[in-house]
Amino acid sequence: MSNITPSQTVGPYFKYGLTPGNDYAWNDAFGNDLVTADVSGERIRIVGQVFDGDGRVIPDSMLEIWQADAQGRFADPQDTRAMPNAAFKGFGRCGADAKGGFEFRTIKPGPVPGPGGKPQAPHILLAVFARGMTQQAITRIYFGDEAANAADPILALVPAERRATLVAQREPGDVVTYRFDIHLQGDRETVFFDV
């Protein structure tokens, strides 16, 4: 077995350390608005709620996202196509509200290279943390109005009847908004990945 340090739950009291907002004498290192002045691409909102196995909302959960820019580049030197000085970081964090709700403001990512150099459909990685979760659960947000989903090599690995749980759907309104609800269990259980 490996020698890595095991994960432990974030527990119920992470808010003042990780997502304090204006409620505690501490500052946020990360927020839910990823949009920077210089960034190109379509501005979008992603909203959703987190539910447990009884269909109850999970107010003490935390979501983190990681995504490429509109050209499909990650702000990480390990992606050698990255723009070293770009302000867009591609990382966001949001603590759920009393209704288990979350919101991210970001830009729609571009296609990213996948296995064998074939492009992946635009997607955002999402990690869910909560009391009662011994480690984060990792999933992906795809976009319902994206034709490239049909050829995406990762979606193809997901049983067809469960793929819809990974696809955010456009909501009506002027601001481009996608809804992505997360069900940890149940008939609509979100697909989580073993990475």
Binding site: M1, S2, P12, Y16, P20, P113, L157, F192
Partner: protein, 233 residues
């Protein structure tokens, strides 16, 4: 450069369903996780520089007008990958209860005093060798509702990033010899004893500062080893 992340390393983690820790019952996925190859999305991760960590963020005892009550301690160590290499410039975030075992969080209402001079949150960044250091107060044990007379052993929550989205972990650091270990379903959710003991810091007399603070060492090992070029290098 990127690292290879063997999937087997995840065996060190607790099962997602750990029934003795009751809140896992309705919050753990029941369907099999879908195995996917690691693509550029999984192999990259956020990079944050010194601008994220302010001066004194790593000293939890100087964030208010006065000094917090309790036993002042130094907590330090290295963040390394599975190959033993230090992980440089990576962000650590910590949060913890005060010396009385009370969290400043509004939901914690157990009858122990808050300390006006202690928030219990901190940040640090590892140096070029993967080394980090915090100064804080030893947290107290506290009761919780999981089962009758349930008490959490004293611990400090750690959030660590590493090189990629899949190396990221949130964990808890414990103190050596805590009598509550045997009774804590969160600590024991990690079923492998050796893995479990890697969450326990060691007392560090060599770096204990005379007349000032005891020192504990907590080394963190993140997933990832065998640096290799990526396809697009």
């Amino acid at each position: 450069m990127t690292l290879i992340y063997p999937r087997e390393s995840n065996a060190a983690h607790a099962p997602r369903l750990s029934p003795a820790y009751k809140s896992t019952v309705l919050r753990s996925p029941t369907k099999p996780l879908v195995i996917i190859p690691h693509t550029l999305s999984e192999l990259t991760g956020p990079v944050y520089g010194h601008e994220t960590v302010r001066d004194n963020d790593s000293d939890l005892t100087i964030q208010h007008k006065g000094e917090p009550l309790g036993e002042r301690i130094i907590v330090h160590g290295h963040v390394r990958d599975e190959g033993g290499r230090g992980v440089p410039n990576t962000l650590l975030e910590v949060w913890q209860a005060n010396a009385c075992g009370r969290y400043i969080h509004v939901v914690d209402q157990h009858p122990a005093p808050l300390d006006p001079n202690f928030t219990g949150a901190g940040r640090a960044q590892t140096d070029a060798e993967g080394y980090y250091r915090f100064i804080t107060i030893k947290p107290g044990a506290y009761p919780w509702g999981n089962h009758p007379n349930a008490w959490r052993p004293a611990h400090i929550h750690f959030s660590v990033f590493g090189y990629s989205f899949v190396s990221r972990i949130v964990t808890q650091m414990y103190f050596p010899g805590d009598p509550l270990f045997a009774y804590d379903p969160i600590f024991n959710s990690v079923t492998d004893e050796k893995a479990r003991m890697r969450m326990v810091s060691s007392f560090d007399l060599e770096n204990t500062k005379p007349d000032w603070a005891l020192c504990y060492r907590f080394d963190i090992v993140l997933r990832g080893r065998n640096a290799t070029p990526l396809d697009n290098d």
